[in-house]
């Protein structure tokens, strides 16, 4: 968990409930009435809102964007900026495939609105590269074959990167906890643990 906390609540899951309502404005979220009838109502539809100008600071580059306030950081990264190293697995904070670093801490980009990522330093998988050269965590995942299909891998790598930035010499248990919010359906966890240990070595040089 983060050292730094948002005023509005927990940092890992991005926006808090209170923060969300503040952003959307009270009238924008229509309450859903359960009628019990078999007719599916049109309730719950969020009215289109004006686009908002924001500036995001990603991998050392600044991006000026027009976004809808409801757009997730994940959507903006992948579909608007083409930074597809960050993957989409669930869009509801279950799997960690979209993990990025926000001010150095691992966060789920699907649970973070683009508008709340303003003024923060965002690092994605692409940001770990040094030109065409892999970063140490990426190199360790390559050496230890710490993936199969590779789709959860960017998130796993970012979780390990975040861990090593705050704890350069983690124990096995600390590694297991650090990646426990990142599902790997291919089930390669045992190799991920080894890669994380190797990454710690590589970073120490």
């Amino acid at each position: 968990m983060g050292k730094k906390k948002d005023e509005d609540g927990p940092s890992r899951l991005g926006v808090s409930r209170r923060g969300f309502f503040k952003l959307m404005g009270a009238g924008a979220v229509v309450s859903v009435a359960k009628t019990g009838s078999a007719v599916e109502s049109a309730a719950g539809v969020i009215k289109p809102v004006e686009m908002t100008k924001i500036k995001l600071f990603i991998n050392g580059r600044s991006h000026r964007l027009l976004v809808e306030p409801r757009w997730s950081l994940l959507f903006v990264l992948r579909e608007k900026l083409g930074l597809t190293g960050t993957k989409v697995g669930c869009e509801r904070g279950e799997c960690g495939a979209c993990t990025v670093l926000i001010d150095g801490l691992p966060r789920y980009a699907c649970m973070t609105l683009a508008v709340e990522a303003v003024d923060k330093e965002i690092t994605t998988l692409e940001g770990l590269m040094k030109g065409e050269e892999l970063g140490p965590v990426q190199q360790a995942f390559l050496e230890h074959d710490a993936f199969q299909c590779g789709y959860c891998t960017p998130g796993q790598i970012m979780a390990v990167e975040g861990l090593l930035r705050s704890n350069p010499n983690p124990s096995l248990e600390e590694i297991r906890h650090a990646v426990s919010g990142n599902l790997c359906r291919c089930g390669t966890y045992a190799h991920i643990f080894k890669a994380a240990q190797r990454a710690a070595e590589l970073r120490r040089g």
Partner: protein
């Protein structure tokens, strides 16, 4: 090109590359983010699709009103029940067809309408604005009740999905009469969902009447065939590309309705459409491993010889024919020598999403029953469970016509070497000693065996290899690399034969427009299917290369050898030339080699075998179970790449932990029929905290010269077959309570502990 007769290459003896722990050839792409998966595709002027699905377990669409949705900002097309174009039908097994958007929704999540809009947010706004009036019908959501009289019918004609399947050999009544001990038990495994990390879906784009689909799939040619069939297009007008894909486990062997929906929306709007499902939809609509309700009766003599096995299973493929009991009885039929066997499989319909093949269909369920039963028999006759299994090793396939022998069967070696490496006897003794001291933490060890009905691969498969004038190589194959390391293994085969470093091999694959025909990557058959064809293609290149060098060196090709990019005479060491120095190759630009997968050996069976061992800790107060260590002895023929091999072992064991301990689809069978745990919070797949920190892989490598020209058999599926049963046996050893239903977790264990405490 004519397929000329070529000599079958001899088995490899000593290998330079094959078997080594070489990192994947596409590892850089996958860890750097440069690999483009289908869900990463973004095309100019692309729209986003979304699907409205029936929220009821069983309903009829009476009326659908999309007028409001069609007027919403960004919405470019709506298609729905009754208006989805020229008779688009969706085929199931056994000739059953429904409309793509069928007014009769037989399961929660059936497709009712779809939208294409400028953003996915707008598409979902529109989906929510479509008003549907349903007639809600009575449902059946429990396969055990589907055949009861008065059960609501999923299809006209009742809830039986096909005929009951009976298999019989010998005489089970006589077998039970000959037995010293007969046990009977019922078992149940819950339904599992595949939920691969990359969502199911595609991007579809038309150029006139030609369609290109970028799909997350295990087999591009399978998707091409289905799309062409459903839309009535020539095969060549459908190009399917899927070079990277984020996991499938059997659920992406075929096109989905979503593929057709994307194509129809793209046609209607004249724009590319990206259509990826939400995670929730993947829980409802794109397959599952069916629940299995099994009864097994078994007879054994005091000396450990099995005399009879009688097995029955009721299962369901969901609302449509989908093989709900497929292969559940195979291990009972073929894992152990047994003269008298009878099995009965009953497949029924229920109002739930159709199943799809799921990593070793039927086998982990069958192993859950059979391997717990073997454990119970061993205890009853006071025999070590490893020894009991060793007494019943099959010498040939008893369940197949004509009792064909196996090309190799390593079951005995898996059991013997696996138990030795695990320290089985010692672990049994230590656990016993620890438990006699009492306390809340109890220790247990358990083991189980398995085989996989397939895993030998076979034709068809064509590979093309191009050797360029500088000695670098391009490999062209149609197969998908679903994460098992297929590309890497194939590059290693080329490297072995041509001496080209794997980094100098570029692979083009999984594209119906540009790569060779291939069957889908599934059934643990990809390596044994593709690798022999790759070897043949490499040897075809080598033969032409030596002939070319022979002309330049003015010597017989038969006297030449290829080593480290150089062709040398075996007789006269001064006669040598580098590949890059061949003037004929420079002029010609390329040598093209073609390889085909030859036939499998006649009247022989190619199956992988396994034995797995584990140690667990059970907290008898909380019901928490920890898997402390795990050893998998796998006989899958030759190990092609030690690194990716071990990774498959780790992954298969993780899947078994899921079946045994964490995964269970829950349908609200009494009130709504709906699935109540349609997300990864409520449906739990194993996390980093649920698996043993280390899984020891012990490859058993008999020399199999008959299976195919590489000696490799499949691994991905066999490695998950015995796992759950091994864990169940270890839990029994720890606590003395036989858990016959999955999952084994605090919820299922703690009531058993309190009941036991009450009984004193």
């Amino acid at each position: 090109m004519m397929r000329e007769e070529r000599e079958t290459p001899k088995p490899w003896k000593k290998t330079e590359v094959i078997g080594k722990p070489i990192p994947r050839v596409d590892a850089y792409d996958r860890v750097s983010g440069s690999a483009i998966y289908p869900s990463d595709i973004s095309l100019p002027d692309m729209l986003y699709g979304a699907i409205l699905r029936c929220p009821h377990a069983h309903a009829k669409v009476l009326n659908i009103d999309s007028r409001e949705a069609e007027k919403m900002p960004g919405v470019m097309a709506v298609i729905k029940v009754g208006t989805n174009g020229p008779d688009v039908e969706w085929p199931y097994l056994r000739g059953l067809k429904t409309k793509l958007f069928d007014p009769h929704c037989r399961h929660e999540g059936e497709e009712v309408a779809a939208v294409a809009a400028e953003s996915p947010y707008q598409a979902w706004d529109a989906i929510k604005a479509i008003k549907v009036k349903y007639e809600i019908l009575p449902f059946v959501a429990d396969e055990r009740k589907a055949l009861e009289s008065g059960a609501p019918a999923v299809h006209e004609g009742g809830n039986r999905s096909g005929e009951t399947q009976i298999y019989e050999r010998g005489n089970v009544e006589r077998g039970f009469a000959e037995a010293d001990v007969v046990l009977e038990e019922t078992y149940r495994t819950e339904s599992e969902l595949h939920t691969p990390m990359e969502l199911h879906g595609c991007v579809a784009k038309w150029n006139g009447d030609r369609l290109t689909v970028w799909e997350s799939t295990q087999g591009v040619y399978g998707v091409q065939a289905r799309v062409a069939e459903v839309l009535g297009l020539p095969l060549v007008n459908v190009r399917v590309i899927g070079s990277y894909m984020g996991g499938g486990f059997g659920s992406k062997l075929q096109a989905g309705k979503y593929t057709i929906v994307a194509a129809l929306l793209a046609k209607k709007t004249g724009r590319a459409v990206k259509m990826f499902l939400t995670r929730e939809e993947t829980f409802l609509c794109v397959g599952n491993r069916p629940a299995s309700n099994m009864t097994l009766k078994a007879g054994v003599k005091r000396g450990g010889v099995l005399t009879a096995l009688e097995f029955s299973c009721i299962g369901t493929g969901g609302a449509y024919p989908a093989g709900g009991t497929s292969l559940v009885d195979w291990l009972v039929r073929d894992l152990y020598q047994c003269p008298n066997v009878r099995t009965k499989l009953t497949d029924v319909y229920i109002n739930a999403g159709p199943s799809r093949p799921c990593r070793a269909p039927g086998h982990p369920q069958g192993a859950w029953a059979l391997e717990q039963m073997i454990d119970a028999l061993a205890e009853t006759i006071k025999m070590d469970p490893v020894e009991l299994r060793l007494k019943n090793i099959p010498l040939y396939s008893q369940a197949r016509e004509g009792n064909p022998p196996y090309t190799s069967t390593g079951l005995k070696e898996c059991l013997e070497q696996g138990s030795k490496a695990f320290g089985w006897k010692e672990a049994l003794r230590k656990a016993f000693e620890a438990n006699t001291r009492g306390g809340t933490i109890r220790r247990g060890v358990g083991m189980a065996s398995g085989l996989w009905v397939a895993g030998g691969g076979g034709p068809p498969c064509t590979i093309i290899i191009r050797l360029f004038s500088d000695g670098s190589v391009n490999l062209n194959m149609g197969a998908s690399d679903i994460g098992t390391g297929t590309k890497t293994v194939m590059a290693m085969v080329v490297s072995e034969e041509l001496g080209v470093p794997v980094n100098n091999i570029q692979i083009e694959h999984a594209d119906t427009g540009t790569t060779q025909y291939a069957t889908p990557s599934g059934g643990s058959k990809t390596v044994p299917t593709e690798a022999p064809a790759v070897r043949a293609a490499a040897l075809h290149v080598k033969q032409q290369l030596l002939e070319m060098a022979g002309r330049e060196l003015k010597t017989e090709a038969g006297q030449l050898n290829l080593k480290n990019g150089e062709i040398l005479s075996i007789i006269d060491p001064t006669k040598k030339i580098k590949i890059s120095g061949l003037s004929e190759l420079k002029r010609q630009g390329v040598i093209l080699g073609v390889g085909y997968r030859g036939p499998n050996p006649d009247k022989k069976v190619v199956n992988p075998f396994a034995a797995q061992f584990c140690e667990v800790e059970v907290n008898i107060q909380t019901g928490e179970v920890k898997v402390l260590r795990f050893l998998a002895a796998q006989e899958s023929g030759r190990v092609m790449n030690r690194l990716t091999y071990e990774n498959q072992v780790v992954g298969g064991v993780t899947w078994g932990v899921g079946l045994a301990m964490t995964e269970s689809r829950i349908l609200d069978a009494k009130q709504t029929g709906k699935m109540v745990n349609r997300n990864w919070h409520d449906y739990k797949i194993p996390t980093a905290l649920d698996v043993p920190a280390e899984v020891i892989s012990l490859p058993i490598e008999p020399e199999d010269t008959e299976a195919n020209t590489t000696g490799a058999k499949g691994l991905g599926e066999p490695v998950t077959i015995p796992t759950a049963a091994a864990i169940a046996n270890a839990v029994y050893h720890a606590i003395g309570i036989r858990i016959t239903g999955t999952p084994i977790n605090p919820l299922t264990l703690s009531p058993l502990f309190s009941a036991r405490r009450k009984e004193g």
